[in-house]
């Protein structure tokens, strides 16, 4: 331990956080268009997604005539007691359904 001119201790201290050991990933490649693509809606069954996702389906279909929407009902509630199991199955579930893109909500 060091001291300053007034003989007060000087402390040299270490970092209270911890290295971010989690593996870093690149995000998936974006699409050129949503025309001809299967887009899945994923919902946590909270915060009025049941009102907004139908609106989103209408808006996306108006902009991309050949888009195919797979509703949130196909995947069930992705929050709550079964969250870990359901989210854990999600990558394979999305592949099995040949999903091209995902819209996930509601984080509120």
């Amino acid at each position: 331990m060091l001291h300053n001119d007034d003989m007060e201790p000087i402390y040299e201290v270490v970092w209270p956080q911890s290295p971010r050991g989690v593996q870093r990933h690149r995000r998936a490649a974006r699409l050129e268009t949503l025309n001809g693509k299967r887009v899945a809606f994923l919902w946590d069954y909270l915060f009025r997604g049941d009102e907004l996702f139908p609106v989103l389906k209408t808006e996306l279909t108006a902009r991309f005539a050949d888009i195919e929407i797979v509703g949130y009902e196909a995947f069930g509630n992705l929050h709550g007691a079964d969250e870990k199991e359901r989210v854990g199955r999600l990558p394979q579930d999305l592949r099995d359904r040949h999903i091209d893109a995902v819209v996930s909500g509601m984080g509120c």
Binding site: M1, N4, E8, I10, Y11, E12, V13, V14, W15, P16, Q17, S18, P19, R20, G21, V22, Q23, R24, H25, R27, A28, A29, R30, L31, E32, T33, L34, L42, D44, L46, F47, R48, G49, D50, E51, L52, V55, L56, E59, L60, L78, H79, G80, A81, E83, K84, V87, L90, P91, Q92, L94, R95, A101, V102, V103, S104, G105, M106, G107, C108
Partner: protein, 482 residues
């Protein structure tokens, strides 16, 4: 919902996440904590819960839909920020105790109270007799992606003023935080629950934990410092600060550890709380859950169980509100409120020959609320249970026990939990007072999880074991991996 987006990205499927205004920082921090920097967000104008349907939809169409489209199509962006953070042994601050405290406060590394400066020597001294490898990895913090190491536990323990003999308790708590059943990643949810640690077992008293008067208040070093360590660890390693993962609207003060009165439990032959999670009476254990709210049940008057059960049950119903969505909704059979009773109350039951299970059954039968109130709490008033089903609907769907749907009378009385054993009981506090405290838990968002406390010195550092007279310099031979 970031976790669903991350699952999608892991399958090489592009995603965009809809978040309400004000949640962007938490969303970005969550993505970074899973190794995915820069996932696209589509932000709503304001929070949807307080908007009319027309207002919400107009805003959504005008502002959010474009962001959804932009998040899915277009050019790929480079990966996120480079890591310019310190290494574990780097000196991050140098100065007087005032200067260190000011810098830690400025960096967000304290909760506002003064800290003991975590010099390398103090941290090494904290660990040297434990035998633990400082770089042993107990898990990854789900929220931040940071390593849960013995070293990081010790740094925050020094800051909190913990003593080395408390390290086994801190390790057990870290194991709880790393356990997926606990759900530490939810520790910053908006309703702002905070953890309650309960310690029991034959050696709890030897560690200096107060079980008596003021059992849930600061005042005893062990209870206070271990409770404070949890707050610091959640800030510094899990990232629960307002700039990252903490979205608590209000929050609670840090709770000191609640230590059960083992002498009273032995006298009345009742199991401790940890027995509910599979631990024996001869084992030291910590149990932990995040608690929403609590209420005192004051001056419990009566000399028989029959006289005091109605009042205690009433206390439990008073902490059973929106959190009933953890019976079914946000959780499923995960509402497990805790009733802390003073030894005097516990003895009233025991003198009448009642076991803890007898008390739980009586409380289950007595702690009832009108079905209509239950349904409003989880449906109409909070909108937390999708579709706002009635309790009869949920019984018919197999989600609830038949007792919740014995008629469709909205005024009928229904339980607040699925089964008697869901009403947890602990014994602590002033032995000469008849008071109780009821607390409600936050379901899967910090669910009751218990771990044993292993006091045995580790054998990770063989050199330390072989040279018992050695000092902290032993640890200097082991640098962090990488």
């Amino acid at each position: 919902m970031l976790r669903a987006s991350i699952a999608s990205e892991s399958a090489s499927i592009p995603s965009v996440s809809i978040v309400c205004e004000g949640f962007e920082g938490q969303a970005r921090a969550t993505a970074r904590g899973h190794g995915y920097d820069g996932l696209p967000l589509a932000v709503t104008v304001g929070h949807v819960d307080s908007q009319s349907a027309d207002e919400m939809i107009d805003n959504f169409v005008a502002y959010t839909v474009d962001a959804i489209v932009a998040g899915l199509i277009g050019a790929d962006e480079a990966a996120g920020e480079d890591n310019d953070e310190p290494n574990a042994l780097d000196i991050v601050a140098r100065g007087s105790i005032d200067e260190i405290n000011a810098q830690f406060l400025n960096e967000g590394w304290t909760e506002g109270n003064p800290i003991i400066p975590p010099t390398r020597e103090r941290v090494e001294s904290f660990l040297v007799d434990s035998g633990h490898d400082p770089w042993k990895l107990l898990g990854i913090a789900k929220s931040s992606g940071r390593d849960l190491t013995i070293w990081s536990i010790a740094v925050n323990a020094v800051m909190a003023g913990c003593r080395p003999e408390q390290l086994p308790v801190l390790i057990a708590l870290t194991e709880i935080l790393a356990d997926p059943r606990y759900g530490a990643e939810h520790s910053g949810n908006t309703t702002g629950a905070d953890a309650l640690i309960v310690i029991d077992g034959p050696n709890a008293a030897n560690l200096g934990f107060n079980t008596g008067p003021g059992a849930m208040r600061e005042g005893a070093h062990a209870n206070t410092s271990v409770g404070r360590w949890l707050r610091l660890y959640l800030r510094n390693v899990f990232g629960f600060t307002v700039s990252e993962h903490d979205k608590a609207t209000f929050g609670n003060p840090t709770r000191p550890v609640l230590a059960e009165d083992m002498a009273c439990l032995a006298e009345i032959d009742w199991p401790p709380l940890s027995a509910a999670f599979g631990f024996g009476r001869d084992e030291d254990a910590v149990s932990m859950a995040r608690m929403n709210s609590g209420t005192i049940i004051g001056s419990v008057f009566g000399s028989t169980p029959e006289a005091i059960v109605p009042y205690l049950a009433n206390g439990l119903t008073r902490v059973a509100a929106w959190d009933l969505t953890h019976v079914y909704g946000l959780g499923h059979d995960q509402f497990q409120p805790l009733l802390v009773i003073s030894p005097m109350i516990a003895r009233t039951f025991s003198k009448a020959g009642w076991s803890k299970a007898d008390v739980q059954r009586a409380l289950f039968n007595e702690a009832r609320i009108p079905a209509q109130i239950f349904e409003r709490m989880i449906g109409e008033w909070s909108n937390l249970t999708a579709g706002q089903p009635t309790l009869v609907d949920l019984v018919e769907a197999g989600h609830l026990a038949p007792v919740f749907g014995e008629s469709d009378d909205p005024g009928r009385l229904v339980p607040i939990v699925m089964a008697p054993e869901r009403l947890l009981i602990a014994v602590a506090g002033d032995p000469n007072r008849a008071n109780a405290f009821a607390l409600s838990n936050d379901g899967p968002h910090g669910w009751w999880t218990a771990k044993g406390i292993d006091h045995t010195p580790a054998s990770d550092l063989v050199c330390a074991i072989e040279h018992p007279g050695s000092d902290a310099s032993v640890l200097r031979t082991r640098l962090p991996p990488g």
